[in-house]
């Protein structure tokens, strides 16, 4: 019988939300191939996060130990491969986050598996849909190998629901690897706002802000939203890298996406087209962003955004 191994992602013992989207994809795959799903968490804090994940599925394995403290691709993929082999996994499913993208291909190479990356949907037991050419085409790909690795675009799958009863957590031990990579430091970008890929509302600014993000931030705070940016803004050094929405940045699909002063280049659209409701505010009535917007307002963002923030605050009172 097929065994589907979902590799979760965690930081300091807290499960990342994207894991639950990967689990949903795994559940859809299980419906197609009749497989049984097991979970796996790796690294410092894995046991605690496994406890959290066990509310959602039958068996979750945790691997902690020397060399796994930092999420190094070499050590984490080696641990995942060893676990997959021990558990007889026929499919490995992981969210296509920076972590998932880093380790999934190494797992595939070691297992002799084909990898379908960043999938949008599960078509059958071996076919998946994924975006190509910046989302200008959707391909159905078929993985021809007996063992398959799938990375999942988290924004395309709803979070899995809790199971009726909590599952079991089992500790797994793996051989210590000796990586050729060393962790040096992590420079966290701290923000009081929700994380971009997890937020239900996103307010993004583009070149039209001329680098002044105060109106963007004020509206974001009124809406309880995350702040995003176009590539032009990030390239100019006006906002940090990790705020970039687009093919080459983060892919978001919130229930409301507000694009202010963003022209709407293909590469930006690829990162936000999946949003439920899109609002565009731009001075240029011909800006391509209006073609994907549900509601377009032609006007100056420096005037419109503060007004919008005020109106939203009034509604929330």
């Amino acid at each position: 019988m097929a065994t589907i191994l979902v590799i979760g992602e965690q930081a300091h013992g807290h499960l990342k939300k994207a894991t639950l989207s990967a689990l949903t994809a795994a559940q859809q795959l299980a419906q197609k191939n009749g497989g049984q799903i097991q979970g796996l968490l790796i690294g410092a804090g894995a046991a605690q996060a496994a406890q959290e994940l066990s509310s959602y599925l039958g068996t979750v394995h945790s691997v902690e130990g020397k060399g796994l403290e930092h999420a190094l691709a070499e050590t984490h993929s080696a641990a995942a491969v060893e676990a997959a082999k021990k558990l007889g996994a026929t499919e490995v499913v992981i969210a296509a986050t920076a972590y998932g993208k880093d380790i999934a291909p190494r797992i595939a190479a070691r297992l002799g598996a084909g990898i379908a990356s960043d999938i949008l949907s599960v078509v059958s037991a071996n076919q998946f849909k994924r975006a190509m050419w910046a989302g200008n085409a959707i391909a159905t790909v078929e993985v021809t190998t007996p063992v398959k690795v799938v990375s999942v675009r988290a924004t395309e799958f709803a979070a899995a629901q809790k199971a009726g009863s909590a599952g079991a957590v089992q500790q797994l031990s793996v051989q210590a690897a000796s990586p050729k990579t060393k962790f040096v430091e992590f420079n966290e970008v701290k923000s009081a706002r929700p994380e971009l890929t997890e937020a239900s509302v996103v307010v993004s600014g583009g070149r039209g802000t001329k680098g002044d993000f105060k109106p963007i931030e004020a509206l974001a705070d009124a809406l309880g939203a995350a702040v995003g940016a176009s590539r032009a803004v990030v390239d100019a050094g006006w906002q940090p890298n990790d705020l970039q929405v687009g093919q080459t940045g983060k892919v978001v699909a919130p229930k409301l996406y507000v694009a202010a002063g963003i022209s709407g280049a293909i590469q930006h659209l690829a990162g936000m087209k999946g949003s439920k409701t899109i609002v565009a505010i731009n001075k240029d009535p011909e800006a391509p962003i209006f073609q994907v917007a549900d509601y377009g307002l032609v006007g100056d963002l420096f005037k419109a955004l503060p007004e919008l923030a005020e109106e939203v605050k009034k509604l929330k009172q």
Partner: protein
């Protein structure tokens, strides 16, 4: 040091991409081609590392049809020293590309391999990682840097990847969720580059002329002993679902009303 850098021939991202009526692939007639923009950043970084660590050599590798000579030439015109084309017509999956590159690397024995984090045609983002595992090397994906692209360091064309004093390791700042992670990788290693590592240079006319005389070696998958049968096949390509046309609103008050009453998102 010897640096190997990949350059894939891809559809120009400014070209209009249309799906073929039989859903087998995209329409390629009338489409412009160019080097993968992420690979151009890899070439730029390779050149900066070479020029700050003489004597060094940069080898540009492409895998594809004979037409991919053009993308190798553009890397040579930027300043790479020589080229290698692994000639193959038709689709190759990322796994086959990784295994072909593995053979080229075993032959060339570079100290560092720089690649774009993904090619903007299939947007797979897996080849570098597959290659690192096949070689048993360390990897640093999504290489970026702390300095912005407007910084004095960038203007001075300094490498964003920091070579260790003993030249046996490389410090790489990686773009990950929530910030920048700095790793130290032992060489040889695979580094895949993200957008904000550098701004690639334009080739000057004299360098374009010089590039014409630089050698390009041609290899074949069979000669490298690689079976290129795909592990992942593309069975269908379709146009993305279109978004329903939206409406223009005259003012903020109307917008808020619509968001509140119609879309129910505020």
């Amino acid at each position: 040091m010897k640096i190997l850098v990949t350059v894939k021939r891809v559809e120009d991202y400014e070209s209009k991409i249309k799906v073929k009526p039989d859903n087998s692939w995209i329409v390629t007639e009338g489409v412009n081609y160019r080097a993968n923009p992420f690979d151009e950043i890899a070439v730029e970084e390779a050149l900066r590392l070479r020029d700050s660590n003489a004597p060094s050599e940069v080898v540009a590798v492409s895998i594809g049809s004979g037409a991919a000579q053009a993308e190798i030439r553009s890397a040579l015109a930027m300043g790479a020293d020589r080229g290698i084309l692994v000639k193959h017509d038709g689709f190759l999956d990322s796994d086959a590309v990784a295994r072909l590159l593995q053979k080229v690397i075993e032959k060339e024995k570079p100290d560092l391999v720089l690649m774009g984090k993904q090619a903007v045609d299939v947007d797979d983002n897996v080849t570098g990682q597959l290659l690192a595992e096949y070689l048993g090397w360390g990897q640093a994906t999504f290489a970026s840097k702390k300095e912005s692209l407007e910084s004095p360091e960038e203007k001075a064309k300094k490498p964003g990847l920091k070579l260790g004093a003993d030249k046996k390791s490389l410090q790489v700042a990686r773009e990950v969720d929530g910030g920048l992670e700095v790793l130290e990788v032992q060489l040889p290693a695979i580094v895949t580059v993200d957008l904000r590592l550098n701004v690639p240079r334009y080739a000057s006319l004299p360098n374009i002329m010089k590039a014409k005389k630089k050698p390009i070696e041609e290899l074949a998958p069979a000669g490298l002993g690689v079976d290129v049968a795909p592990k992942v096949k593309v069975v269908r390509v379709e146009a993305p679902p279109a978004r329903a046309a939206g409406v223009k609103v005259p003012d903020v008050a109307t917008l808020v009303k619509k968001l509140h009453e119609e879309a129910k998102v505020v």
